[in-house]
């Protein structure tokens, strides 16, 4: 479970994230949407303890990221939007390093790394330096690293960027399987079709405020109340455009 409690972030005089209160139950795939600059990545960085909030906190699987960061992080896998890795390590060495950081037993690390590299179709290049990998391969390696310690929560920031159609399909299948096994998935994405296909609930962040929250049906109902802002059909794209336009007009 993920719980945001009054989370806020100010950069100087401007508020980037405003008083975010939100609960995401275990096993849910939650879609976190919003236009560019809405504060999605800032929210995720605070959630992962990479950025200090101005106020509030996030509770990950019962552990407060502010007061028990190690315990909270140990339950969480993170895929950032820019997968910068150690270029001079090989893929296998990187997974070993991450496995060690998350406290996996030595014997388990190699087996787990091997399985994940196989699952992500990278076994043939496990001994090559990461600097020789394509963007998509780095993205897949980052995903593999996030899954090394079998997290209870998976946080993904734009994970589809750089993946080929096959990679995208595999990722969707993996996320569905993880959610079915009780893993909470927090997915920030610009791909509305992905959110539409995968997410149990969707939250839309605009200018740092959570302007809409609910299932796709609930969001459609809410958007239908304001027909003057944008044409509405059944798609999430149309719902998204109408809801964010409503905020701009407000």
């Amino acid at each position: 479970m993920i719980e945001f409690v009054g989370l806020r972030k100010d950069f100087g005089p401007s508020t980037v994230v405003e008083e975010l209160d939100l609960v995401i139950p275990a096993g849910e795939i939650f879609g976190f949407l919003g236009p560019n600059g809405a504060g999605k990545t800032t929210t995720i960085k605070m959630m992962m303890g990479v950025l200090e909030p101005t106020a509030g906190t996030v509770i990950l699987d019962g552990h407060d990221i502010a007061t028990a960061p190690e315990e909270a992080k140990a339950q969480t896998g993170y895929v950032p939007d820019q997968p910068a890795l150690y270029d001079k390590l090989t893929g296998m060495e990187f997974l070993r390093f991450v496995g060690g950081l998350y406290g996996l037993e030595r014997g388990e690390i190699d087996e787990r790394a091997h399985d994940l590299l196989e699952e992500f179709d990278m076994l043939t290049r496990e001994e090559e330096l990461i600097e020789t990998y394509s963007h998509g391969m780095k993205q897949r390696l980052t995903l593999a690293a996030a899954l090394m310690h079998r997290p209870r929560i998976l946080v993904l920031d734009e994970p589809m960027v750089g993946l080929d159609p096959q990679g995208g399909l595999e990722l969707r299948q993996i996320l569905l399987a993880l959610a079915a096994s009780g893993v909470t998935v927090f997915l920030s994405t610009h791909s509305l079709s992905v959110a539409e296909e995968l997410c149990d609930r969707i939250g839309i962040l605009d200018a740092g405020r959570l302007i809409a929250l609910g299932s796709l049906d609930e969001l459609q109902s809410r958007a239908a109340l304001r027909p003057e802002t944008a044409p509405l059909d059944a798609s999430l794209e149309s719902v998204f455009l109408r809801l964010t336009a409503m905020e701009d007009h407000a």
């Binding site: 303890g49 992080k73 390093f97 991450v98 060690g100 020789t132």
Partner: protein
């Protein structure tokens, strides 16, 4: 129809970035100008003195002047050519924006012009900075006319362009044969090895012998007979033949040699342009090929793992990771060659000191040198720390998120980084103190005091390095040398020097008392004992407080990096 983007437009990103950097920090710009001016003045004064001294050697004076000029020109030419080869590799084949330019409607010829200019500026400014005061000194000492200055400037510029053209041609040839990253690694290692070797050779030649008048005569004889490459086909010979007659030393045909230099430079430039225009895409494509090697990598990790075994889990993991990255990056591990040269020369300096004749003066001198050795060893450690400890945080680069998102406290992270840096530096520092102490005949008790002081100093220096490194992070570059020469690196070095000065000042008196106590029959009084105790405690307090404050600062800045 459009003729494509202008050269000015292609150079705009670099020019604008430089302008923004200057605008962002006016203080830095002023500091830079002041340091440059001081350097210029120093170079000019030094060469003026040397040339004036040569003029006093009536018979050999003109010959020495000419030989020195040829030596300078040959050195410039060699340094510039190597520097241009290394720089051209980056600007033409490894820079991230080349891909963008290749996709844009930019002609190969224009691309060559832009990258050639960048290569020329990036690799030549240092030599130009050093060279102009040298030529100015020649002009002033020999009271040359304005024609000499104009010719010196023209000669220098032509040599710079010629070396840049040769650099581009050699680099393109190398890239066509070897992958670019391997070429860069090899060039970096060769360059550093040459510098380290040259430095050691120069020191082991015992230049202090030249202070002896009879040895000075020998040096002059050497310089006179110096077989600098002086083939009539060499550009450096033409450059010398332009300048020497204009100094009024002897007759010659400067215009002819200027013509030779000018036409050769033009041909070299056009050849580099022709080569790049013809084979650029092929060479660039080759440069994109990654290095694929199997088996070898596991050996490095397998070798490092036992080394990390006694350490706590996280520290061990970070150690293996940091060392693996270090030894796979030629620009980093090759610096160890320089460090080795530094250590050899340092120890050699103490072995060569003439202070063992048993006189009271020699005894005093030994005490002074032994104490200065503590300060010098600390200085060497600080210099090494600027290069190896200060960049540690920045070298995590954009991958910093991996450590921040992991279940790892910032304190554990700091301790891991601290031990990884402290242990090798402490071993290096203590070896320097013990070995040089042996040469100086320092008493074991005194050596123990020096060792303890140095250990405290090194702990504080490493802690400061992590604090300054975290406060002035440069996550966008993987070049440790570049990181170390930034503003934060300079402030760090100054802080280290201030700390060393304070510690040396605190310890000078008690060490002196203890040293002379060895030769005096009377005991150290109670008051003196207390004062000595306070002074040593002062050293411990200063270093430990610095260590603790720097540690807190580093952890606070760690939290802001993400």
């Amino acid at each position: 129809m459009s003729r494509g983007p202008s050269l000015r437009l292609l150079l705009a990103p670099r020019l604008l970035a430089a302008r923004h950097a200057l605008q962002r920090s006016y203080l830095k710009a002023v500091l830079l100008v002041a340091v440059t001016a001081a350097f210029w003045a120093g170079c000019f004064t030094f060469f003026t003195n040397v040339l004036e001294f040569f003029q006093t050697v009536t018979a050999l004076g003109p010959l020495l002047t000419q030989r020195l000029l040829v030596m300078i020109l040959v050195s410039f030419f060699a340094i510039l050519t190597i520097s241009n080869v290394v720089t051209a590799l980056t600007t033409f084949y490894l820079a991230s924006d080349v891909r963008f330019l290749l996709a844009a409607p930019v002609s190969r010829r224009r691309l060559h012009q832009a990258r050639f200019t960048e290569t020329l500026v990036a690799s030549s400014w240092m030599v130009l900075l050093f060279g102009l005061p040298v030529f100015l000194a020649y002009g002033v000492v020999y009271q040359a006319g304005p024609l000499f200055y104009a010719a010196a400037l023209a000669t220098m510029l032509l040599l710079l362009v010629l070396c840049a053209a040769l650099g581009v041609i050699i680099t393109t040839g190398l890239v066509l044969v070897f992958p670019a990253r391997r070429t860069r690694d090899a060039l970096v290692v060769i360059t550093v090895a040459l510098v380290a070797g040259g430095y050691m050779t120069l020191r082991l030649l015992q230049p202090e012998r030249l202070a002896d008048p009879s040895e000075m005569a020998g040096f002059m004889a050497f310089l006179t007979s110096f077989e600098a490459p002086s083939s009539p086909f060499l550009p450096t010979t033409w450059a010398a033949e332009i300048l020497i007659p204009l100094l009024g030393e002897r007759g010659g045909d400067p215009l002819f040699h200027l013509g030779m230099l000018l036409t050769t430079t033009a041909v070299a430039y056009l050849a580099s342009a022709g080569l790049v225009t013809t084979v650029y895409l092929k060479a660039w494509s080759r440069a994109q090929e990654g290095e694929v090697r199997r088996g070898g990598r596991r050996r490095l990790a397998a070798w490092l793992r036992p080394l990390a075994a006694p350490l706590p889990r996280t520290s061990g993991l970070l150690l293996v990771k940091d060392l693996t990255v270090f030894f796979r990056d030629a620009s980093q591990w090759s610096q160890l060659l320089l460090l080795l040269a530094l250590v050899v020369v340092y120890i050699y300096n103490f072995s060569a000191l003439p202070i063992d004749d048993g006189t009271p003066l020699a005894t005093t001198l030994r005490e002074v040198v032994a104490f200065a050795n503590l300060a010098l060893a600390a200085f060497v450690i600080a210099a090494v720390a600027v290069r190896f400890v200060y960049p540690v945080v920045s070298l995590e680069g954009r991958a910093w998120w991996i450590l921040r998102a992991a279940p790892l406290s910032l304190r554990s992270l700091w301790w891991s980084k601290f031990w990884i840096a402290f242990l090798p530096l402490a071993i290096l520092g203590e070896i320097l103190i013990v070995v040089t102490g042996q040469f100086l005949g320092v008493a074991p008790e005194q050596t123990a005091v020096f060792m303890a002081t140095l250990a405290l100093l090194i702990a504080a220096i490493v802690s400061l390095g992590l604090a300054f490194g975290a406060a002035y992070p440069r996550l966008d570059t993987q070049n440790a040398a570049q990181i170390a020469t930034g503003f934060g690196g300079v402030i760090y070095m100054v802080t280290c020097l201030a700390l060393i000065a304070v510690v040396v000042a605190l310890e000078a008196w008690p060490i002196s008392r203890l040293f002379w106590h060895q030769f005096a029959p009377f005991p150290v009084s109670g008051g003196e004992q207390a004062a000595i105790g306070i002074a040593f405690s002062g050293v411990a307090v200063v270093t430990l407080v610095t260590w603790a404050v720097a540690r807190r600062t580093a952890i606070r800045h760690f939290a802001r990096l993400g």
